[in-house]
Symmetry: C2
Subunit: 579 residues, 2 copies
């Protein structure tokens, strides 16, 4: 619900002189996404007008098959770093990692602007910041749903409440010199159990303003139908509670806080105690509880240590790991590595989440192991016990129809999803393709009153990878090597030569990993040594050692020899030691 | 349809004397799967009675995340190899790679028994065998649907037609001293456009025999509902043909031969020519055409070279690559590497396949790239243009109800799927858990007239991996190294020491791949060198060089040092060269 209480504008002390050389009618607001448009995650975007920049979200992306070994990927903020004096605010729409996870890494670089966000988001961001003792202290501007703030001379922002899977999520209406731009962040439409859309007045009010551009997420744009009502999810989960006689183990995301609140409520109804396993789950529930967003009766949550003192039919265990993540609680339970809990016959296990693409195999392992250990499984493909937080086609249609923007800009999600989203707007709002621009990460969209043009200028948007303490030091070379090593392994060949005669001082040393098990392939190793001796023996003795030449020769010829013998191409690493 | 024409029994010349020490009423047929029960693929099973063994299928499995770099995984046939004199037959149910792919690797080892199969399967097996010039010549016994053969003294086999996605697929009724055992291989129920199940008379006839055990696939057992009618698939594809004005590119599996036949038929109806890209697609279509299983009008198929001579609205291109496979035709088309075809605006691209778990990301890339290049995409999540070949729950229920077995043995698929399948039989046939045994790969199920017991004896069933020319030489050690290398890379440290003084003859050499880019981290490298010199400097000079001690020390301490500096754990490979 939007309350039109305009707050006292928060004018920052930085220079905000309007550039007079830009004629007013050629005014342009530049929009750019630094991440989130060619992936799921790493969401970050900004709006720029003259020397004012407002950024929205700073999320992380989990690694992919092509980026082995890294911890995660964060948005590339070089563009903002170069203009950090201009960055007036970072607005955070909600507290999920794909929208806040990069904050500890980037805030200092973009000038540590104030973070405009709601209370819960602030607490989630602060919680994460604790893991980064060297990160700068953050400055927060707490906003409420319905509130409006003058963030800089040219950006006035109205915050509105959105339906997602975590409380306190907000969308923004940016009032700019060019027009009003609306971005709800991640969202879906909430329905009651009868299928009536809820809280439509928010969208109705937005629709009454003249909206210049509407930036809508595309994550669900290739899915037909509408969101499953969270009320139905509740009913289905309650049905399982009703018929379960043993312990109930619920695995879900630790940030799916609205779902967790529902489950705790049902547990209280069925006189079960809640035990929580997993640090993030515990702290997140504590945060919402402290804020009063989750009303939990005293005595409902019991320390995990005491779980075995309670009868099975009084126990609900909340844990992370519904995706089969290696270190999450559920995996530890299944592997027998959990201190308090193992699966036993009669346990009911509810996996209240969808399968994130890429996790299919690990979720299968999870299902297999729980079934083997006697657990009774319910997952979201079997019953309606999960509803995604991302609007599918019918939800998108409802809100686009209410908002009636001049321009419709699909954001968040792979190209195909954004293309589908643009198609929907073309079909449903009768917009022309040039009114539904599909931009990529780093492309700058110049929005004037009556046009949306992709600029030739681009902001850098290549991956910045975090691996251990390193931020951005793992580049394409390192990743290419990791991928190559994972496929065929490597062979190190060390030729120790007399620097004067060029002759071998000892038999070549050969080390190999991930190629073949050398101990079981002595013949091949001997063959290889002989070949190396021959190779180097062919070089005339009077010649000076040319280590580079010898290395190239070894790499080529030994590579060929091994390919002929095995049809595999390990990485060959020749070393010439001259003594 | 089963024709009760009992063929002259094909009695093999091997000894088939019944062991008189087994009393008839304690007769036991041993059933064992060597693959396919804890994975999708690698299907192979056998039945054993006395000194007679009948094997069914010999498929391959594609590599997984945990088996990087290998080509594929085949069944472990050690058990059969040790008893190869007893193996009387390999029955092949259908020509898909997960059922025939391992034949070139295993036939000689299991004694090259005759292969009982249908004509098309034979041709598919022979085609594949051409790639293995050193594999032995195979002996085939061609059987027809409805035919019965006496394979050995105690195994009489009736072959019946099944509905799958490839013609000539067969199921078997093994008539054994213990009772009749039925296994249809992969199957689904065919429905007409109105939803009536087809060819039910096959199952009805089976049900009239007294069936001891029914071995049914579980691949679809966790999916609700019934198979999508292939007639509806046809209708939907035809609709797309009707409205497409440009070229039509259909990507699907090259072995989905019934679908390909439908598409060719529709193309003919709409006066379009067929062009085929992809070797396997071409040869498979040729095989079925030669056998008369696919009636194609003369002039329908045109050589690919000529594709650009035809108007867009007369062109249908059939190609492989609907899973985003790196080397398949569709990927080459999209990457601009295809000789004749690139995607152009107005092309319609039909992806007539589901997404195989694990391929989600590469299919997403495919969709993104086609959309970017202006293609109009239809995939199976958008319209009903694909139907799986594997029976979902309702299909399973229909046939289990008709067959009414004494024992129901779920085969093919992960544990959870087999558990669901067993549950279905318990719910629907009112069988007891001990009548629906869930066995794992390698477990031997002893089937007597009235019981099904899992034996303590097991057949080896661990992975046999094929990597290049190597079969079984890539083991857990090599894979573990590949996985480790892919995560954090490796550092080779070479200390060249004077064998007499134990002193460094030169600065330590450091090579690293997949860890950090050393050229950009000179300081760390210098620091590392210094540490290595210090480490070895601390060893008293009078002491003999203990290379193992030095290596262990380097591995531990350098590992710790690098972890402290980077929070990464590369594989440390220390080498001590004594000169």
């Amino acid at each position: 619900m939007i309350h039109k209480t305009i707050n006292k504008p928060v004018i920052r002390t930085r220079t905000m002189v309007r550039k007079n050389n830009i004629p007013k009618d050629n005014d342009v607001v530049r929009f750019c996404a630094l991440g989130g448009l060619e992936e799921i995650g790493r969401n970050m975007m900004f709006f720029e007008y003259g020397d004012e920049i407002v950024a929205i979200d700073a999320g992380l992306q989990f690694p992919e098959e092509t980026t082995p070994g890294i911890d995660f990927i964060i948005p590339n903020i070089s563009y903002l770093e170069a203009k950090k004096k201009n960055v007036r605010a970072l607005i955070v729409t909600h507290g999920h990692l794909d929208h806040i996870g990069a904050i500890p890494y980037i805030m200092e670089k973009i000038g540590n602007p104030p973070i405009y966000t709601t209370l819960l988001n602030k607490e989630m961001i602060k919680r994460r910041q604790e893991d980064f003792p060297n990160a700068p202290k953050l400055e927060f501007e707490i906003v409420k749903r319905g509130e409006t703030r003058q963030i800089s001379e040219n950006f006035k922002v109205e915050f509105f409440g959105t339906a997602h899977t975590i409380p306190d999520s907000i969308g923004v209406i940016l009032d700019t010199p060019v027009g009003k731009m609306v971005h709800p962040g991640d969202f879906r439409v909430d329905y009651d159990a009868e299928g009536n859309p809820q809280d439509m007045d928010v969208w109705e009010k937005i629709g009454k303003q003249k909206i210049h551009s509407f930036l809508l997420e595309s994550t669900g744009a290739d899915k037909e139908g509408r969101s499953l009502s969270e009320r139905i999810v509740e009913v289905e989960i309650e049905k399982i509670f009703k018929k379960s006689e043993g312990r109930i183990i619920v695995a879900t995301f630790s940030s799916l806080l609205e779902r967790l609140a529902e489950i705790i409520k049902i547990a209280e109804k069925y006189n079960r105690k809640i035990f929580i396993s997993g640090y993030s789950m515990k702290t997140n529930i504590q945060i919402v509880q402290n804020l009063g967003y989750m009303k939990i009766k005293e005595g409902t949550i019991i320390p995990l240590d005491e779980i075995n003192k309670y009868k099975d039919d009084r126990v609900v265990l909340l844990c992370t790991g519904a995706q089969g993540e290696a270190n999450a609680s559920l995996m530890r339970i299944i592997n027998g590595e959990h201190k308090q809990v193992q699966i036993k016959k009669g346990d009911t296990v509810i996996l209240s989440s969808s399968v994130v693409p890429g996790n299919e195999r690990s979720v299968q392992v999870l299902l297999d192991d729980i079934a083997r250990q006697g657990g009774i499984i319910y997952h979201s493909k079997m019953v309606d016990i999960h509803s995604s937080g991302h609007a599918p086609q019918e939800d998108l249609k409802i809100v686009m129809k209410m908002v009636k923007p001049k321009f419709y800009i699909p954001v968040h999600g792979y190209y195909f999803m954004r293309w589908r989203n643009a198609q929907l707007a073309q079909e449903f709002l009768k917009l022309k393709p040039e009114e539904t621009p599909i931009v990529d990460n780093g492309q700058i969209l110049e929005l004037s009153k009556n046009s949306a043009q992709i600029s030739e200028e681009m902001a850098p948007s290549y991956y910045v990878m975090v691996d251990g303490l390193g931020v951005g030091d793992v580049g394409e070379v390192v990743l290419r090597d990791r991928r190559a090593l994972s496929q065929e392994g490597m062979v190190v060949i060390i030729a120790t030569l007399d620097r004067h005669t060029g002759q071998f001082l000892k038999n070549p040393d050969i080390i190999s990993r991930g190629f073949i098990y050398l101990k079981e392939n002595k013949e091949l190793v001997e063959d290889l040594r002989k070949r190396i001796r021959n190779l180097i023996g062919r070089i005339p003795r009077h010649q000076q050692i040319d280590a580079d030449y010898i290395k190239t020769m070894m790499r080529d010829q030994i590579g060929q020899f091994l390919y002929m013998k095995t049809k595999r191409r390990p990485m060959i690493l020749p070393v010439v030691i001259e003594v």
